[in-house]
Each structure stands twice: as structure tokens, then as C-alpha cells.
Point group: C2
Chain length 527, copies 2
């Protein structure tokens, strides 16, 4: 069986990008197009259409951070940006809410993590959003160009170093703010959620607990079936309409065969309203696949403008349009109508551009090519995507071509675990919430069952990608209101426990002034 493949990449969850290789088993593609990257959502703050940002006040600071925490070779420091707000902080004793910055501009994450800002006042908490190294303005070697030049410069872009950054930063911050006694609570969504969970596990001395929202820490090796992600996306469409699911499933072959006719690419370019002529059907595949995956992630119950301006339950709307054309409407016309919901809901776009800079190196692409190796396949039966069987060799080859680096596909589970996680953590660790919405394709690689009394899973049937971390809206359904209330209660419990256990020590050791603060604080947060 002849197999050509093309590689496309997806922004998975507002924040995680992965690279997958998709191949058509029966209709070889003529070209192997350059991968597309959707890092743009996280790489600037221009795409946020929300008004929430004006409510979040913070100071922007920089910390001279160690580039390499794990060797003592001479290495330069780099400026790590962090956003900080101490307005509501009960100085010296109030908690510190630390959001684990993920792969993008920290301002964007701060803007889209309203939950942390909203609950900080009631906890008397300081809020800190440190940026992840190599993203946003936290770039070593003086410039992004230098930092992203080659494997030698990119080498220090990984999760272990990022966690150590957070640990070193917060230790320094606590000292400077006389906040040594303050409990740190971690927050994170998507890759940031993975970091939050891992940080609580690796640095219990730094943080007392973590809310890890939509954190697919099990999306490695064969811990979950490789078809999981795309099956969940597909099910999101199927549950709206099996016709819709089938139209999409048929569309790939349709595109392929059109593409192979004379003027086929012209036809497709016109049908899908691209500004420039398509270079290959693969480009169109990638454009559509991304839309479906993103739609599944942000399939929120209310209108949102997280990645794109979208109606509530956007997949419902996509399928309404796909299914809805008059008799005789072609599959491709239907697909175009549907995908317009994602790419052009406001109707302002005159024609579509394919991703602007497919040649640029993305930070997440480096991470995916080194340690964040998340294998995925597309099932021929259960998915609406073209069937694809994960092929590590070709992935490895691509990474070597791109970065001159060989991935370490087993490293993450060695360093952070994942296999048999319920058994490993049943009597180890505490105070982690894994929250997931089952509409989110990343939920399949996350923790969906309680591990222990205090490492718990909050699952919402109608939730999508870390919706709980978003600012509350007046349209929030009850289940979301309840989910957040549960999270607040759990976090409050961690903090109460922390203070109560300190109190015995305090009563002996600390001056009465601190006792008073503690006592006032206990009234504020209600224990």
C-alpha cells in the first residue's frame, strides 16, 4: 500500500499544540506540505476579543532567571517576565495564587484565566502569573531569533526547567515580600495544567496544592488509546448529528479526488474562498482538521471569543449549517458553510489566508519534538478524520530534519510518571484537582477518576477546554457554577489545613502580631 503522508499540527486546547502526521491510505497526496502552526493564539494578545482584561490589574516585572538549573556550567541568565497583583493580599500571611504559564504570551493566559483573578480577593491572595521560558517576553540569549536559532539554543526549553523557574522565582519572591509563611496554590490550564500538577508532585515544598484544568498528563506513550483525541472530537460532531459526522468523514476523499482533477486546486480554492491559490489538498485538510479540533476544545455552552468569536455550542451550529443546505448541495459546499462558523462567524473575513508563517519555528513544536511526544492516531471506524496510524519513525525523522534533535518519547513518563497513575499516587501526594470537560478532546488524556481522597477529578459532561478557569459570565450553566464552587471549597480546605497546621507552630514561635493577622485571615476565608 503506497503511503504518502503530510504533517499538520493543531493547537490543542487554547494552549497546547501538537504535531501529528496524517496520511490518506487510499489517495496519496501529491505533496507533503510544510506543517502549519497555530501558536498565534497564544503568541500575542491581539486575538483576545474579551473585555475581561480591563478588570485584571497587575504590575509587570522581570526576574533574572537561571537558564540551566540542572547543570553548573556557566550559562547566561534571562529575564523572566511575571505579572503580579498584591492589591488583595493579606501581607505576610495570605496565600499566593500562582498560575503556571504555558506556551505563549503570559498576558494572554492572564486575560483568559478570570477565575483566578475573581477568587483572589476572597482569599486575601496575591496573584502571580510567571511566563514560561522561551515564550512571550521571557526569552534567553537576547532575542527570539537567537533563542530559536538551533537545538543548542533551544535546548533549555522544556518542562523541567520551566518548573524550576517557577520554584526559584517564587522562593525569591517570598523572601523579598516577607511571604515565607504564605501558602502557594498552583493553577494551570492545558499544558499549564500539566505543569501545575507536576509542580505540586515535584515541589510539595513550594506549593500546597494545584488546580490542573484540562491537563492531559496521560497523553503519552500508550497510556491512553492513541485514537482517543480524535475520537472525542468526532463524537462531539456525531452527538449533534450523525449526518454531519458522515459528511465530514466523506469530505476528505471528495477533496482528494477534486484536487486531482484538472483545475481541481482552483476549484477548491474558490469553493473554500481562499485569498491565494491552494498549493495542495493537504493544506486544505490541515485547515479543516484544525477547525474541527479547535471547535471541540472551545465547544462552550455560551458565546465566547477565546480563539475566535463563536456562538454558544459552536459545533451544534457547524452541524446545523453542514446538514442544512437545500437538496443538491454538494458535500464541499456543506463543509464550507460549516467551517465558516469557526473561521468567520462575524462575517468580517472576505477571503481566507492559510497560516501566515508555516516556516517559523514554534516553541511548542520544539517541545513536541523533544519530550512532549504525544502519539495520536485516527481510527478508520470511529473518527471522522482520514484514517491514520501513528508512526513514530516518521515523526522522529521529521523532528530530526526540523531541529536536528531526536525525541525522547519515554522521558516524560520516566520523569513525571503516568503509567498506573492511580496506583502510584494512591498513597503518594495530595491536593490536586484534575478538572475536565468531556467535550474537550484533551479530557481523554487526563485524569478522569479520583486517585485518592485529596487527588481528585472533577468531570463535567458538558464542559470543554478548561472552561472552569475562564471568568464567570452571566450565561454560566449551573454545572459550571457548581464546579467552580467545588474548586473553591477544595482550595479553601487546603489553605485552612495549612494554617491550622501552622498554628500549633505559630502559637509557640511567632509573635502575636502575626497571630492577629492569621486570626483576621481566618475570618476572611472562613475557617
Amino acid at each position: 500500500m503506497a503511503r504518502n503522508s503530510f504533517t499538520t499540527s493543531l493547537l490543542l486546547t487554547l494552549t497546547i499544540f501538537i504535531t501529528i502526521t496524517i496520511s490518506s491510505s487510499h489517495q496519496p497526496l501529491a505533496l507533503k506540505p510544510k506543517p502549519q502552526f497555530f501558536g498565534k493564539f497564544a503568541s500575542s494578545t491581539n486575538h483576545s476579543h474579551s473585555h475581561q482584561q480591563s478588570n485584571f490589574h497587575y504590575e509587570t516585572r522581570f526576574f533574572q532567571q537561571q537558564l540551566d538549573h540542572f547543570s553548573f556550567k556557566k550559562s547566561p541568565k534571562f529575564p523572566q517576565r511575571y505579572l503580579i497583583n498584591t492589591d488583595n493580599w493579606v501581607a505576610g500571611s495570605g496565600p499566593i495564587f500562582l498560575y503556571c504559564g504555558n506556551e505563549g504570551d503570559i498576558v494572554w493566559f492572564a486575560q483568559n484565566t478570570g477565575f483566578v483573578w475573581e477568587i483572589a480577593p476572597r482569599f486575601g491572595a496575591m496573584v502571580v502569573f510567571p511566563e514560561h521560558r522561551y515564550y512571550g517576553e521571557s526569552v534567553p540569549f537576547g532575542s527570539k531569533e537567537a533563542a530559536y536559532k538551533n537545538a543548542s539554543m533551544l535546548g533549555f526549553l522544556n518542562a523541567e526547567q520551566a518548573l524550576a523557574d517557577f520554584a526559584v522565582l517564587i522562593t525569591d519572591l517570598k523572601q523579598n515580600l516577607s511571604a515565607e509563611a504564605c501558602p502557594v496554590v498552583l493553577f494551570g490550564g492545558s499544558y499549564g495544567g500539566m505543569l501545575a500538577a507536576w509542580m505540586r508532585l515535584k515541589y510539595p515544598n513550594i506549593a500546597i496544592g494545584a488546580l490542573a484544568s484540562s491537563a492531559p498528563i496521560l497523553q503519552f506513550e500508550d497510556i491512553v488509546p492513541l485514537e482517543t483525541f480524535y475520537d472525542i472530537v468526532s463524537n462531539g460532531f456525531k452527538r449533534e448529528s450523525s449526518t454531519c459526522f458522515n459528511y465530514i468523514k466523506q469530505s476528505w476523499d471528495e477533496i482528494e479526488s477534486k484536487g486531482q482533477t484538472t483545475d481541481g486546486l482552483d476549484f477548491l480554492t474558490k469553493t473554500f474562498n481562499f485569498c491565494q491559490k491552494l498549493k495542495s489538498t493537504g493544506d486544505l485538510w490541515g485547515w479543516l482538521e484544525s477547525a474541527y479540533s479547535y471547535l471541540a476544545m472551545v465547544n462552550y455552552p455560551y458565546p465566547s471569543e477565546f480563539l475566535m468569536p463563536l456562538p454558544g455550542n459552536p459545533i451544534k451550529e457547524v452541524c446545523r449549517r453542514i446538514d442544512g443546505g437545500p437538496t443538491g448541495t454538494s458535500i464541499l459546499e456543506r463543509i464550507y458553510e460549516g467551517v465558516n462558523v469557526y473561521y468567520n462567524y462575524t462575517g468580517e473575513i472576505k477571503c481566507f489566508e492559510l497560516d501566515d508563517d508555516p516556516h517559523g519555528l514554534s516553541g511548542w513544536d520544539w517541545q513536541a519534538c523533544t519530550e512532549m511526544v504525544m502519539p495520536m492516531s485516527c481510527s478508520k471506524e470511529s473518527s471522522m478524520y482520514p484514517p491514520y496510524e501513528y508512526n513514530y519513525s516518521s515523526f522522529e525523522e521529521d523532528c530530526f530534519k526540523k531541529f536536528g534533535v531526536k525525541p525522547r518519547p519515554r522521558w516524560i513518563t520516566t520523569e513525571f510518571g503516568g503509567h498506573n497513575i492511580h496506583k502510584v499516587l494512591k498513597h503518594f501526594g495530595s491536593n490536586i484537582i484534575f478538572s475536565n470537560g468531556l467535550l474537550d478532546p484533551w479530557s481523554g488524556g487526563s485524569v478522569l477518576q479520583d486517585i485518592s481522597e485529596s487527588i481528585v477529578s472533577l468531570v463535567t459532561k458538558e464542559g470543554a477546554h478548561h472552561i472552569d478557569l475562564r471568568a464567570s459570565t452571566k450565561n454560566d450553566p449551573d454545572w459550571l457554577v457548581n464546579q467552580r464552587a467545588t474548586e473553591i471549597k477544595l482550595i479553601q480546605g487546603w489553605i485552612n489545613d495549612y494554617y491550622q497546621e501552622s498554628q500549633a507552630v505559630y502559637e509557640v514561635k511567632i509573635p502575636s502580631s502575626l497571630s492577629k493577622i492569621l486570626s483576621s485571615l481566618s475570618k476572611i476565608i472562613g475557617f
Copy 2:
């Protein structure tokens, strides 16, 4: 107050070396001698006089290990040596006993960790002793000379990388031996014990528990009073005889004033029977100080030949000789008689050599100059040592001169914790035994109280440096026999829990053949 200082270093516990700076506040030393290193004990196997080694059979293998686990820059691999014995292993299901190799030749540690070899058969356990990177034969860059050349080459010698080595090695080994289902139990003494405890905390996915013997994980920053170590050494002498303690306390001034007279160094050289003329009184100080500290560490109740051939309760014997001379015996003659117990108990030495290669770079010295910054002072009141107040600046300066590196004195507690450890780990982590003998000066920096139900402390009043890990002898006192029995019981409990929790899974998933093995195994180890 004029202060000159000289730096000496001690092998603390058979395995840990630290560098301390000692200064006489009233009698300035003429020279600042080169530091002495006692790494020789751990750096070759020649010093073991025990017969035990013949009982321990193992195969020596090498694993191609990642030099830098925490960056993805291109870096060479290096051959990590490990000793392995599978004779008693219940293949596929029996536990794996992993000794966390410390700063020296792994063969030496294997020879001196009889406990692990002795208990392996009853557990049906495989035994693995991986060597710590940069020590023994596990040296990167092709040779010790190359690896120790400068900070750039030494950069990867640290605890984080060493732990990752163990994790990667054991993951690979399990796969190759079809041992994925086998629980790993960690063992370690001294620095190796620190590694074992930290490894259980950082890699619960790799190991189910750790016996951390004489592991001073709190000997950082100001977690314990800086005088602790030398106070414990001193008390070990004082409890035998306050006269003895006082003679030693007076001897430093005596040495100093003799050294300043004409032919003073000749006199001291002769009195202390050195083969070559002393270059400074500081050399003599260092030689004596090392002896006292080592004596405290190996103050075992029975004759031993661990560092040196020694009688049982060697400090008692030292003090007997110091106190025992006829009236008119000078302090220095007394000291010489006493220290002979340590340096020449067999009487075979004709004259003493000062440490052979004071210029050679020691691996531990590098570790102490980077992350293993263990501040220590000598109390003027309670210690028998010359008073010394820890001075970080001069320590930092020395390190920079020696290695061109600036220590990170707060890094270990950031990475591994230590402050408020009882609070941090009370509801986090499980299955660690911190065992300590109170005669051991390192016990002061270790965990001496239970942290939780399963992170426990075993303290023996009469124990010295990780005596529990040594092979049993017919002279073992009851408390030692009991201590080891408790350790075995606890370890057995961890393993039982592991199998019991697996069983539910096994019953559904595993073939009956494995169930049978498991069932036989459960009979062997008695659950």
C-alpha cells in the same frame, strides 16, 4: 580581630565529604594550606579489609546514559556502570532492590552494604547497584581527567542528574528484563541515603519506597543549627570522658604555639610521627579533625574495618589512651596516642603521610561548591574544635578560585525541600524510612522524628553512620538486630501493599501463569 583561615575537608560518613573553613580566632595560622580530601575511602576498593565481599556476587554492566537529562542540546552519552544480581529474583514479579550509588566507586559501596545483599533472597529480589556519575568507572568525556577538567565538563555532576540516571536506567532495565510489574525499593546511606529519600519523593512512579540511612537532608542553610555536626562529634568524646574532651579542646592552641617556636614544625612532625616535615600547623589540625569526625561516624559497637581497622567503640579507646598516659605526659603526646587508634590501630604504619594528592579535584568538592552547600560552625563552648563561625563569602570565594563556579546555596532546599519538612510531607509522600544512629554526627542534619504514618524515623541511641546497612555480624547488639528487623518489616509492608493493590488489576488482566508466580512469591515473603 585578625582572622586567617584554612580550609580542610572531611569525609563525613563513609561517603560524604564536605569542605569547611576553620579559623583560629586568637592564633593566626601562617599558611593557608591546600584542602585535604578523604575521597580515597570511596574512590577505590583497596581500603576495604572485610571478607564480606566474597559473599556478594554480581555481574558488572554498563548502560549508555544521557549526560544531560534536562536539556535537549546535543550532549554525549557516558557509560554508567552498574552491578546486578538476579540469582534470587522471582523473574517478572519479584522486587528490585536499588542502591543509590553515592560519591565513590560503586564496588566499595556494594561491599559495605551487606544488609541489601543479605535480605534480597528472602524477598526474591533482584539487586542493582548503579554507580553515581563522575565516580568510579562512570565517567563522561572518556576519562576522569577530561571529566574533571573544568566547570564546563563537571557541570553535569549533580544530584538531579544522578537521580534521573537511576530513573532512566531502571526504566530501561525493567523493560529489558520484562520486569515492568516489579516494585523498586531504594536503599542508600549518607549522600546515597539523601538520594534515596529524594528519589522516592521525586520519582514515586519509579520506586515504591526508600530506606534512607544516615541521610542529612536537613544539613542545608539554617535548617539545623550550624554547630550541630561538630557538637555531636564533640559529645561523642565528652560522653566517654570530659578530660579527654578537654585535652582535645586544649590541643589546638598547644599545636599553634609550638608551631610558632623555632623548629616548632620539626617538633610537631616528630611528635606526630609524620614521614615528611609538616608544612604548617594547619595540616596537623586538619589531620586530627578528620580523625575525630571519622571516629564519630564509625563509632560502631564492634570491631570494624570500614574506613580503617578499628576496635569496637573506638572513641572509648581513643579517650582511654588520651587520658591514660602517666603523670607528666604532655597534651600533644596524649593526642598522638589517641589518634593512633584511628590512623594505626594495627600498628603496621611506620610513619604517617599527609593526604597524598591535595591538589587533585574531588567530585564531592565540586558538588559541595555548587549545590551541596552545608554550612557548619564550631561552637566555642560546646565543641572541642577550634571555634569557627561559618563564613559564606569566603566559602564562595574559595569555590570560585577552585572551580570558577559560584555556589547556589539555596538551590537544594528549593529543589528538594527541607524547611518545615514535617509540615510539607505530613500529607504528602509515603514509604520512607530515615534511619539514624545518634552517635553519628550526620544524624543532626537528618530526620529524627516520624513525619507521617509511613514516612518514619528509626533512631538508635548507640548507632553510628548507617550501621544498619552494613552486613550483620555475630557481634551485633540487640538494638541493631531489632532495627534491621523493623526495616525489613516496613519494606515488606510496602511490597505487600504494592502486590495487593496490583492483584485486583492482575485478577482481571494477567495470565494465570503470572498469578501463580505472584502467589508463590506471596508465600515466600509472607503476606
